[in-house]
């Protein structure tokens, strides 16, 4: 068991053993927004999660292995720091290791489908030095899933990992995504959260050597009653690294609740780093709540730059007026504005099928059929 200091709160226990972790009461900083009663008990005991999710990995230029949780490549980057991630690891029957071999290019698609059971899963993604990889994880179906994704980006590698939460409305998902970025390596980590009753994603990024560059991008859309939380931690302990964090959320309906926490810690040795984090939320109706807490902690001033921004706003009536004054009906004008709101995140993610899925979801949630509106170019 080792102790790692975490920003803003007491040192956390890092251990594979479920018994080393306590049951959260809800008063802990990390749990204070979470609706514990709706977590399907994922947090409330150390018992193994005995159900299963169907995990399928397809792709090109990758190597996939299935190992047990005790394999020495597992829980190296991500050592559980809470009971849920420890349970996820302990309950994971088949740990997938997805590898993009050295100096090659690989693409993987991981589908995780729940069938109403309580399950744990653990996935390792490793981009070896000088490789370029893209991994899309897609979550569908129902049930309660505790999952871990540990990500290693080798020296000078470029890796994109995007996790899409497109669950059925009743699903519960708590996920920890921990990444380590190597020398002159680049990681793009994305979170697209649309479905589920409660979804809590906790991404952490740290650096193994100078020159690392991490971009964390997120997009979420909460409807009535949904709770969607993204709790980011960027740990700068190494000089000359860069991080950029951009999460955007839309909310509509009574009781829609989103939480974004952006903890960035710049430790004393992390000189010449550059970090910026942004969260923007768009409230489409009354009755929705967006919590947004950027937290930048600087232990050194010898840096290139550090900043954060957070804003939560209502629909801009002037934008609607402008579009409507051009003949565009109100419901379609709203779709345009919400699509536009998400565009910069989707452009940075750069994955056309993820973009298409998000746009379709936005259209459906705003109740607009775009056939014949001129917005979809499918008429020729």
């Amino acid at each position: 068991m080792t102790a790692t200091p975490a920003t803003d709160h007491a040192p956390r226990v890092a251990s594979r053993q479920v018994a080393d972790h306590g049951v959260p009461s809800g008063r802990e900083e990390e749990w204070r927004f979470a609706p514990l009663a709706r977590l399907a008990g994922l947090h409330s005991s150390g018992e193994p999660l005995t159900g299963a999710v169907a995990v399928e990995v397809t792709g090109e230029g990758i190597e996939v292995e299935t190992v047990g949780p005790d394999d020495d490549r597992v829980a190296r980057t991500l050592v559980p720091t809470d009971i849920v991630s420890a349970r996820a690891l302990a309950s994971a029957r088949d740990v997938r290791i997805i590898r993009v071999p050295r100096e090659s290019v690989g693409v993987a698609r991981v589908t995780v489908v729940g069938h109403g059971e309580q399950a744990g899963s653990h996935i390792v993604i490793e981009a070896e030095p000088f490789s370029t990889g893209t991994v899309v994880l897609e979550h569908r179906g129902s049930g309660a899933l505790a999952s871990n994704v540990e990500i290693r980006v080798g020296d000078s590698a470029k890796l994109t990992v995007v996790s899409v939460q497109d669950w059925d409305r009743d699903a519960v998902h708590i996920a920890r995504h921990d990444a380590v970025v190597g020398r002159d390596a680049r990681l793009l980590m994305g979170h697209v959260t649309l479905g589920g009753d409660v979804v809590r994603i906790l991404p952490t990024v740290s650096y193994a050597a100078p020159g690392g560059d991490a971009e964390l991008l997120g997009l979420f859309f909460a409807e009535s009653g949904q709770f969607l939380e993204h709790r980011v931690f960027v740990d700068h302990a190494i000089p000359q690294c860069r991080s950029f964090v951009l999460y955007k959320g839309a909310l509509q309906g009574e009781g829609a609740h989103t939480v974004w926490i952006g903890d960035v810690l710049v430790r004393s040795g992390a000189t010449a780093i550059d970090t910026y984090e942004v969260n923007r939320n768009l409230l489409l109706t009354d009755g929705a709540r967006a919590d947004s807490v950027p937290n930048l902690e600087l232990e050194t001033g010898e840096i290139v730059g550090a900043g954060h921004a957070s804003a939560t706003g209502r629909f801009d009536d002037e934008q609607l007026f402008y579009l409507r004054a051009r003949g565009i009906p109100e419901d379609l004008a709203r779709v345009l504005v919400v699509r536009g709101f998400f565009t910069d995140v989707l452009t940075r993610l750069g994955l056309p099928d993820v973009t298409a899925a998000v746009m379709a979801s936005v259209d459906a949630r705003l109740g607009v059929d775009l056939a014949g509106t001129g917005l979809e170019e499918d008429d020729d």
């Binding site: 004054a325 565009i328 008429d379």
Partner: protein, 254 residues
């Protein structure tokens, strides 16, 4: 032939100290083939007239009427007015982040024409319209009005005017903030729109300089929420020489 008819229009805006009447009895008729200039000092309410015609929710019409070819405009929503053939070129066009100019234009044209233009023809049409206004083709992929210079915003408004071909166009201070070259390009666009005599234009402006390039048959002086004098182009020349002093003096109590 289209006619926009405004009769004894009164409109107010909500303020902290209650509703304040800004339009105090505007009567004006614009017919196809006609260009009208409404000129007035700042704060006279002439921009409010433009926004009330377009249906901005900030203003409440308390009495009077606006009709387009006999149809009650005040009864229409903002987008219905646009689809009925009214167009407002705004003084301060609104930024819509993430919505590309090409998507916006195509959606708008589809709504106004009632059907989506064929993609191939549409691309040609848009390119030609952009070229006529000296707009760079890369413009089509930028977000609507985001990061546009003042001149680019105004040219983008006139681009929409030419593509949407409304029955009656209201141009609110389209000349403000433009250098001479941009002013000429914008004015040429308005003149192309007006050329075939089937459309009408209501040009709202503070300055006379745009009237060197766009020649209205009718000039109205707007002050204190109403038209205080109407005439021909000679009235604009007079305003150029004398300014608005005469009207301001006439309106203030002795």
């Amino acid at each position: 032939m289209s006619t926009l008819e405004i009769k004894d229009l009164h409109a107010s805006v909500e303020t902290e100290s209650g509703p304040r009447e800004i339009l105090q009895g505007v009567t004006l008729t614009v017919k196809a083939g006609e260009t009208h200039a409404v000129m007035g000092p700042n704060g006279s309410g002439k921009s409010t007239l433009a926004y009330v015609i377009a249906g901005h929710p900030k203003y409440t019409v308390t009495s009077g009427s606006i009709t387009l070819d006999g149809n009650d405009v005040l009864d229409m929503s903002v987008d219905e007015r646009a689809r009925a053939g009214l167009f407002l070129a705004m003084q301060y066009p609104v930024e819509v982040p993430g919505v590309s100019v090409s998507n916006f234009l195509r959606t708008s044209v589809t709504a106004v024409r009632g059907e989506a233009p064929k993609l191939r023809l549409w691309v040609k049409e848009m390119k030609a319209a952009m070229e006529a206004l000296s707009i760079d083709p890369s413009f089509a992929e930028r977000s609507v009005n985001e990061g546009f210079s003042g001149g680019e915003k105004k040219r983008h408004e006139i681009l929409q005017l030419e593509l949407l071909k409304p029955k009656i166009a209201v141009l609110d201070e389209t000349d403000s903030g433009l250098d001479v070259d941009a002013l000429k390009i914008v004015a040429e666009g308005v003149n192309r729109f007006q050329a075939d005599g089937t459309t009408g234009t209501l040009l709202i402006t503070h300055y006379t300089r745009i009237l060197r390039y766009i020649h209205p048959q009718f000039v109205h002086v707007f002050f204190d929420g109403r038209i205080v004098e109407s005439g021909g182009p000679e009235l604009a020349t007079q305003l150029e020489d004398e300014g608005y002093e005469r009207f301001i003096k006439a309106a203030s109590p002795a």
